[in-house]
Amino acid sequence: MKVFCIAEYRFDELNPLSIEILNLANQIKGDGTAEAVVIGKDVGKYAEELVKYADRVWKVEDDALENYTPDLYVDVLLQLVEKENPDLILVGNTSQGSEFAPYLAAKLNAPLATDVVAVDTSDGVKVSRYLMQGKLMVDLKLKSTPCVLTIRQGIFKEGSEVGGEIVDAGIKPSRESKRKFISYIEPEVGEVDITQADIIVSVGRGIEDASNIELAEELAELLGGVVAGSRPVIDNGWLPKDRQVGISGKVVKPKLYLALGISGAFQHVMGMKDSELIIAINKDPEAPIFGVAHYGVVADLFDVVPELIDKLKELKG
C-alpha cells in the first residue's frame, strides 16, 4: 500500500501526531511506502524531522501556503494525489485535520472514516472507531481506495526509524483561498493555573448545577487542591474557561485527579490520563472513565463527597 500521511505543525513545532500517523503507515504499508506530505511556506525543517520515519517526504511549498486554510490544502493535495495515486491518506484527527480531511475526501469521492483508533489492511481497508462518546465501538469496511482516515492522537506512539528521501513536489496552489487566516488568539490566563496543581478535584456534568460547585471547592480546599472541570461545566459557565481539562482545554498531570461525575470522553481523557493517581466517582458502572482510572467508585457523588468532606474535617480536627 502507498500510504500518504499529511503532516501538521503550529507555532514552529511539528505535531507529534504526524509521527504517530507515520508509525501507523509503516505498520500497514506492507511492501508499499509510507510517505509524508508537508505543506507550507518554509517546511524544510519539518521535512527533516519527518523523513526519519518516512520512505518519502513530499514538500509542497508556496508563499500562499504560509498559513493553513482548508481550501488551499485541499487544492494542493488533490494535485498531488492525482499525480501519485496513494491508496490511503492518513490525517491527524486534530482541529485542522478533521477540518480539511472530509473536504478532501468529498472532492476525491473517497470513503472517509474519522477519529480512527485501529486500521487493518490485510483484506481491503477496515477501521475501528468509537461512537456514543466512547461507549460503543464499530468496525467499518471502506469500500474503495483511495480512502481518507483521520487518526486519533496517542494510539500509535511506537515506531521505528525508516529514513527516506525528501522530494520537492513542485506543486503550487491553482487558486486563491476563499477563507482568510487573520490571527491566532492565545488562551486567557486566570488566577489559578491548574497545570501546576498537585491535587485536582475535577467535576463533570454530573455536578448538575453551578451551586454544587461549592461542594467540590470545599473538598479541594480540604485536600489542598484546586477545582477543574470537563467541557460541559465550562460551557455552562459554572467554572471559568481556564479550568477546562482536555484536548481543547489544559493537559494536567497532578498527583491526584479526582473525577466527579465525568463520563470519560476521549477529549477529556487526553487532558488527564497521565495523572499519577486517578480516582473516578460515577453513577454509571459502564462510564468509560473507569477505563482510565486507577480506582473507581460506582456511586452518587452527592452521597460520597459530603461523607468525604466530613471525614476529612474530622481528621483535620
Binding site: D71, S95, S98, E99, P102, Y103, A105, A106, K107, P111, L112, A113, T114, D115, K126, L131, M132, Q133, K135, L136, M137, V138, D139, L140, K141, L142, K143, K178, R179, F181, I182, S183, Y184, I185, L223, I234, G237, K241, D242, I247, S248, G249, K250, K255, L256, S263, L277, A280, F290, G291, V292, H294, Y295, G296, V297, V298, V304, E307, D310, K311
Partner: protein
Amino acid sequence: MKIIVLAKHAPDPESEISVASDGKSVSQSGLVYDINDWDRYAVEEAIRIKEERDGEVVVVGVGTSCDDTLRKCLAMGADRAIKIPVDTSFDAYQTAEVIKEALKDEEFDIIMAGLMSQDLNNAQVGVLLAAMLDLPVATAVAEMKVEDGKVIAKRELEGGYLEEVELPTPCVLTIQSGINEPRYVSIMGIKRAKSKEMKEVNVSPTISTLEIEKMYLPPVKKAEMIEGDASEIAEKLIAIFKERGLI
C-alpha cells in the same frame, strides 16, 4: 440574511446503550432521543443572528422520526423546517447528499451544523456538504460575527487557542459547544411553533462508501473498584490518600 441550520434528532449517549441483535447497530430500546447537543448551539446562534439582522432561519432534519427535534427548533425561534424523511446510514455522505438535494431550491447566506453528532461522533456532515456545494468552510466555531457578505469566525484549536478566520458568504460553519447559552423552549414558543411550516422533501441517498462489519462494547481496562456504602467508600478513599502521602 438567510441561515440554514442542520439539526439531528439523536440518541443521548447517556441513555441505556446496547448493541442490537444484528450485531451491527445500536439497540433502540432504552435510547432517549433529543436534539443533538452541538446543533442546539447552532440553532441558538442562527436565531441570535436573525434577531440582530433580520432574515430567516430554516432548520433541516434528516430521518423518519425527527419531528420532535424540528418542532423544538421552531419553538426556539426558527421560521420553518424542512424534513427529509429518510433514515441515512452510518455513512455521512448519505446525510450530506440528501441535504444537498433538499436545499437545491434554497438560497442562503450561511449553513450551520453542529460540530458533530452526539451519537456517531463523526464530525463529517457539515464539511462534506460544504465540499459538495463548493463552499468555504470553518469548523469548531466558538465565536462568530456576521458582516455584510462575510463572516468572521473564531475556530477552536487545541490547548485553548483560537484561530480567527474570515469567510465570504455563502459559507458553511460547524458550531462548537459553548458558543452561546441556548435558550429554553417556552410554552409560548411551542404554541407558536405549531403554526410554522414543516415541509417534507423526499430524497434518497445514492452513495455508499462504507459498510458496518460489527458493533460491540469497547474492551476496557478496569479500574480497581471500591465498594461499600458512602461512609465506607469515604474511609477507603482517605486510606488511599494517606498511603500515597496526599494528606
